[in-house]
Symmetry: D3
């Protein structure tokens, strides 16, 4: 049964991915285990009150467990009280992709479409630089999410974020003729690329934390340094390298969000708005997709605690 | 000779539109006339030091004058010292459109394209409401600018602003499926429509000031009231009317820019970004179009005093 | 016994109004009921651990229950552990007004005094408009609170807020002669009037939530639209209607509090301060009235978390 | 002729007070004198181009001069070009009060009314403290303005500000019973009293600058110190002294306006709003009193550059 | 065993200081005692579930108790479940200084060093004023902390804060010659001196709360008043007194941190930075001293929730 | 005669450096030259009304001219009206250093002292990195100012800024033991080093503008990239390189001043305060050094428009 469909008072049985596990001591001074379990539909907290056997070495994050549990309530959300738990047996046939929220398009397909955009580029040095950098990150790019907990925090979320922004860029490029579309494409592909080194993520697309360099410098500064290094190695026109570094530096737009300067070229200005639109459409769709028409959501933290409205005329996508 | 091409020290002759006229007294206690003259390429200040005859009744704003003048300099910009001046004679053959910056597409053509977007709408009540409102404003819509001095402050600028936003909306509508495109189109067409009653503009597209209601309420509140009235008269589904009012209320996004609430529907969120992108692309193109490659502009007031950069790879449009 | 007088460790018996009721599951996986009970002196949380019988259909919000309970402590406040509970029996003689905090003046008396203020108006169109609008809201006006949880969140609180502001307006009108007192009276009476349609309140004066239009537009915009409609129907001088709409638009004064413009007429400026003073005197009196002299209150959320001081020379009112 | 009535192009003759005088050198390298002249209706800039004789020692600030001059225009305002100038002769009969904007009530009358308010006080120590402090400042209180250039920057403006606030305090004291009116009266009388030592003002009510202590500490801190000293000397109840010091400390309400703490007693909260209302009514009346109905003012600096509106129903006082 | 070294699951025995004690009622309606215990290494929460005997009168804050307890876990931190508890017996030999975090230098030694700085002063009136004030506060100065919970919240913390700032002042005084070092020393010694009357602290250096005057005025205003009084009594040059009052007024630098004015003399500017540096070095050292190299701390509340980094090259002091 | 000593009305003769030169047209339509002249004591505007000969090619910025001129006044400051002007003749004996404000210590002496600090470093990789970078910038370091118009905008100002900060760092390093002094020294030497490539400065120490990379990225980002490149080339321990990059990134402390992150190590925190102190002491000394005791300065733009006070006990340095 999908986590999204749990009802308080029921007893459920099923396979779930262990996302987090903590060994704790209760007020009655007993050891228990506090899990976060996950499937494709969401997450749930689960308590194993009677923790027997070698609980320390078993059921670790990244493993799949089979449980029987009753659905209880704790402060407005459901919680599981685990009755039985076991690890996977050889005869269990489970499909890992059922447990991990993933971009709705297959990673290789997305990469191919992105490469097709690169193929359209007419400015040779922009193309060479972008291709070289895609090569550098090709492996992690296939599964990295675009964030730890906000928009596109799903497997291959970064690729999906890039792809949708490229599609939008192409669309707007047909309306606004005062931009060099190659620079916009390059900015889109590279703007968040060093998130791959800023965050530690497992191959299932879950971010476990931030790296040392990520905390001390951040992905914007790290991206600028990387472009600088690769450009120098490849002998890219310094103006190309500088413009792309400037676009990365400015794409968060406001100092308090990490951009000490604002865009001084229209391609940078557009990049910022493409990024905002894609993030906001993602977050709004996610918040609204399970809401009934003419109802409001709970306050959405990442959208300034707005309570969104699903209008009678509203629609949603399924990612 | 176009104002843009004046060089300090030259003597010029030509026809120009009087944009503003002030009668002043010099430090030597003599009366002189201070003009702002305009043609399609820009504006220039001009002094008529020896004002003879009935200067009060002649050469008023909106008239075209023929002048001979020398180009002088005052605080970094050129200024004219008028040597001869006269009004239009019957034999002068001047084309008014040479003096007024105008949207690069003909007004009727733009309106037709906008109506074609409306024609695509599938939600009957949205379509009826939008068509009724276009009818209300049809005449001033043909020439109204979109602002007094910022983006699209040109003849038919409001139509041009709407049209480009509609094109972008359509393009993004093909990328993001979680929006009702009819609502977005309606929001785009109506978001600034009460600027027509907020500002006083002449038929040549020059804003002369703000109306009483414009100053006391502003075009956002005025637009909401108008939609409310027309919806009630036409028996529009209250949900449609409410959603469009909400989009108008929220499209400036931040309280300090006039929106006391933020968008609670994705269509409103997108409307805000479409508006921003169109305004910024317009302002950036205007600031950069006469700049040499690899040069910076002066600080642009409306873009937070940024000094924009015209890159070697940059391009511009001619509006 | 009044809730305000509960002492930890005691056992109490009495009648209380159910303000909220939630069915929950304990960590021991048992169902229990979590009540908020209320009387005229305040509110208290109460747990019914042994919930027997048809707990779902009984003891709902708005009903009065008789309970026996012990007073326990949870995080600095008292809490009830219910021992016995039953609904009202025919023989119980309870006076509903004992359970609901209510304005200290009877609603009809307040309305009469307000109508006497209207009677003093000399500007005919202001008077007609105000009387017509009082007529529209007359029924809910008798019991609506002025807020969900802040100042005047009591039965008939809106009337009480209006009345005290009118009294202050009259008093200040005798000091400041540069205001049209009719406009100030009209602003006072109408400034929050659409809270009646922004919030859902029961007839006992408890706000249950916000309406759809309330969330998408808010009472300020709703009030402007309503005045616009009624003014048009009655043929009110447009200047009168516009000024009152402007006063409503600006009475929150700051954009971040919902007013996109500031008052441009002295009557609007004064309205803002009358509103502030009445709210602040109410909130301060409420926070201080049960405090001993020379003591400080806990931080008061609605007053920027200030800890107010009850001076030796301080005094309080009993509302 | 009153300065307010000057018309550009006319020649005028009359007596005016010298408010400021600067000796300057023109671009043609000649010495000229730049005056600011004043009468009861306003101020005007005046140039004496042909400065002959001992211009350094004559026509100093505070003196009255008789001039003949032509009214010219400089940047939207009128300016005088002086043709003849002389000092007062024994036979000139001029009334100084014609040249100095003054509160509309006679100083002694205002002081008497203020003392009558003090007489109503029931808390003996508050009364003693206030009377002692009035005694300290009695002489300068008769003519001090309440500010250098904003509200009540007129002769006896401080008395007038105090008096109107006391009247309002009394009026509101009849509406709100949770305040000790004696404390409010004391706060009103003393809140700005050390402006007398913060600013240097002449006996004609013109502020010439700030004192050293005024710049290094400011009137709020200076007032607290003064109340502390006098209270100790008179053996005032420390609670009384502390509360009044607290009211002075907090009456500007926001840190960025000079109050590091917010009021913790209702009397302090009310004092703040009484101060705001009196200042705003004064400034709005001043800005609007010479405006035609249905017109807007120019941006008023001290009111956040708002352009106020004089409605058809508006009214003004003559101070 | 030191609190810092507790390990979850162990059973410990030892002497600890009672820092706080609350009598509470459990969800099972039983009375229990909630302690905060402390030793030199830190604090821990401890529950006495089976509270027998006269728990109200025993084990009060400031007393030392001997306990046997098991170390449990609650929300990421350890907590004690008390098994046995008793007060001190005559035969227990405990050293109070083992329980109270104290400045790393003995109080009298610090005071002597501070007096040596005063001895260096060349401006007689500065020296007299400072000595007189040290005399006033000599007793509490020996044990007062510098804050309730932030930097230097330890016994004799205020002395330690002053001393380190004096050492830094002397050091910087040898680099910057545009300051009067006597004024800087005076500012350092007196800037927080009225914290002694703003906060209530026990002789073991624990702050129990704020005084009435502390809450209504704050230590900055109180310090200014005190300096004013003492200066007047001693006949100090008013310029000296005014400058030191100004330094105290401005040393928090920003209005929102309590300084309504900014420093107008370089000595005040330097005082602010000396204060910041000492507080920040203290807080950073405290947060980092128990962290392993190449690890990050948890978010530090008092440092804007930064997660500090202990570098491979970092070092710490032992206070 | 030094510019500082000009008196209005006098006629002066002397040698001055041309800092800026503009050819303009007067209102009478004549060409004139507008100079900014400079000597060691300050700057002055000078007009050459009768510009004869090849004025375009002569008297350019960087040249020294001999002039005779009368001192006139324009808007509160003095201005020169040039009577005679000529360029330098072979027989003129002028010392360039008389015309250029320069750090008070000789550049080579400062560099030597800085190198002595480096010599003290114990962390080998820090030392190697710093020495390598000093080598890169050695030539421009000898004359570069530290800013375009604010603190240390003098010849060799950057060296002087570094040197004073190093002296302070050493002094504070003896007070605070929780810092690695080598890292602080490295941060001080390198924090502004890329100002050399951000600004274009002549060898006389005058900044003429910002470079392309300076405007698009800024010296903070440029410095990080440079340290990254050099570290990689030299095989510096990545932790050393990362820490120094982090210190440069964070030394402006607030996002709105260009630091997207705050310091996470105490060495970075201290660097920020060392930078602030040195800048503020410089700016305050400059503003106060020519002020009489017990007087205030005009508002100082770079110090938030504060009017500083020169106290009776104040002192100044002569740079």
């Amino acid at each position: 049964m999908l986590i999204r469909d749990f009802k308080i008072g029921e007893e459920i049985t099923g396979y779930y991915l262990v996302k987090a596990k903590n060994i704790k001591t209760s007020s009655a001074n007993k050891t228990y285990i506090d899990f976060t379990l996950q499937d494709i539909s969401g997450e749930v907290n689960a308590k194993l009150w009677e923790a027997k056997g070698d609980v320390e070495s078993q059921y670790n994050p990244g493993e799949i467990v089979k449980i029987m549990a009753s659905v209880t309530q704790w402060q407005q959300t459901s919680q599981l009280k685990i009755i039985k738990i076991r690890g996977l047996l050889p005869e269990d046939e489970v499909d890992f992709s059922q447990f991990i929220p993933t971009a709705p398009i297959e990673a290789q397909t997305m990469l191919n479409e992105i490469l097709a955009f690169v193929d359209e580029m007419k400015t040779e040095d922009v193309k060479r630089l972008v291709l070289a950098l895609i090569e550098v990150y090709r492996k992690p790019l296939m599964y990295y999410p675009a964030a730890k907990s906000n928009h596109h925090a799903i497997k291959s979320g970064l690729l999906y974020h890039i792809l949708r922004m490229l599609r939008s860029a192409k669309a707007l490029g047909s309306v606004y003729k005062n931009i060099n579309i190659d620079l916009v494409y390059a900015g889109v592909i590279l703007h968040d690329i060093e998130k791959i080194n800023e965050m530690d993520a497992t191959e299932v697309g879950v971010v476990e934390g931030y790296t040392k360099e990520g905390q001390l410098l951040g992905h914007i500064i790290m991206g600028i340094k990387r472009i600088d290094q690769v450009s120098e190695k490849l002998g890219i026109d310094p103006e190309v390298s500088l413009l792309i570094q400037h676009m990365i530096l400015t794409h968060h737009y406001e100092p308090e969000f990490g951009s000490p300067k604002k865009p001084l070229i229209p391609e940078g200005e557009l990049l910022h708005y493409l990024d905002m639109i894609d993030a906001r459409m993602y977050d709004m769709n996610k918040a609204l997709k399970d809401v009934e028409p003419e109802q409001f959501t709970d306050p959405v933290f990442v959208l300034d605690r707005r309570k969104l409205y699903k209008s009678k005329y509203g629609t949603s996508e399924d990612y």
